[in-house]
Subunit: 200 residues, 2 copies
DNA sequence: AGGGCAATCTTGTCAGTGTCAAGTTTTGCG
DNA sequence: CGCAAAACTTGACACTGACAAGATTGCCCT
């Protein structure tokens, strides 16, 4: 179908306005849909432009590149992740939030950890990633050092690996068998209890 | 440079022979190089053909598709992984071998766990994946059930998540800081000791 | 030995894509 | 009010994956 000209601002006239209104956001959400469904390799700037009802070169004005679009997505993802990790009660809760983030924002998650698709030196990306890193380290250092093995640094790597591996395998449908119809977050809580013999 | 015509079989004549000799393997290894360097999205069938010194349509005869090529890589990867996991002494050794596999075959590893790039119903892929799954389950069930928490199924998920997450984060250069110049396999051994309070 | 068939590889073509350059419309600010 | 910049369009170019049809070669079978 012809993309149903949405004025979305201004005149309710019949013809599509020259300016979209919020093209940047429209392209971003369309891209997230495509990536969540078929992965980043299925992403086409021209297709996104068609979905938004604009010309094929319009996205370039907001993101410059295909790489620029993906970098913006990754930066947004790290921001969202940092936000939810900062509200974690303890380390286990941080892990659960990590898994939940991957499930609720699969496109962000996938792009965030595919560095060859990103502009590594992008400022927004690096600062957002640093924020997320701080949040993660904060959650790790909050646990009493006696309860974990030797090094808090290594304990952080262990926790991150467990959560990241679980989330990744979950998204790639490699845990459909073992997890079954159980709530993945609840399953992860059990795994986390195996790693750290702490409370609950 | 012009791809240095390698007769590799038959006449040492100066002109390149019509048949390549082992084009399938040549394309595969070239693809692995490209993927290891710049990820699957940088893969171009025409570029691989140029590297092998054949025409742009030659690869299609061996792999049909871009998807077919990636599926063949994934199948080969699962075969290699199954082979090394079957020789593991115990669960921790299986984890170490898992991480070593990811480091020695980063292209295989990346493609194996990117299902949207693969032909899901391919026979060679599904059988190879099943073999690898059996090998993993074998390594998990070898450990005495008392030493791990409750369910062996869940213990397997925990071990797989830890190894997979560590390998993934390693390949995406997210552990360059924490691991530093230490041997990653040795670091992982420490993490594995945290998960399972078993021997050594 | 040799004839023919299938596997392998080539050439040609088409639609689709990312990116750049240059022009057009609109917004907003001095 | 006017004008510069932002937002978007049109056009073009090189590149890609895929398909079709033809050329070359290895190999099997009698």
């Amino acid at each position: 179908m012809p993309p149903a000209q949405q004025p979305s601002t201004r005149q309710p006239s019949t013809r599509r306005p020259y300016h979209h209104g919020d093209l940047r956001r429209a392209i971003l959400t369309a891209a997230l849909d495509v990536i969540a469904a078929d992965g980043p390799s299925a992403l086409s700037l021209r297709d996104l432009a068609r979905r938004a009802g604009v010309s094929h070169a319009a996205p370039a004005h907001h993101f410059k590149d295909r790489t620029g679009l993906l970098t913006a997505i990754a930066a947004e993802g790290f921001g969202l992740l940092a936000h939810t990790l900062n509200e974690a009660a303890d380390l286990k809760d941080a892990g659960v939030r990590y898994v939940r983030f991957a499930r609720e924002h699969p496109a962000h998650f996938q792009v965030m950890f595919t560095p060859e698709l990103l502009r590594a030196d992008d400022l927004e990306l690096t600062t957002a990633r640093a924020l997320a890193g701080d949040a993660l380290r904060g959650a790790v250092s909050a646990v009493r050092p006696e309860s974990l093995g030797i090094d808090t640094r290594l304990a952080g790597v262990a926790a991150w690996s467990l959560a990241h591996g679980f989330a990744t395998l979950l998204l790639s449908h490699n845990l459909d068998g073992p997890v079954g119809d159980k709530d993945p977050e609840e399953v992860f809580r059990t795994l986390a209890a195996m790693l750290f013999r702490t409370e609950s």
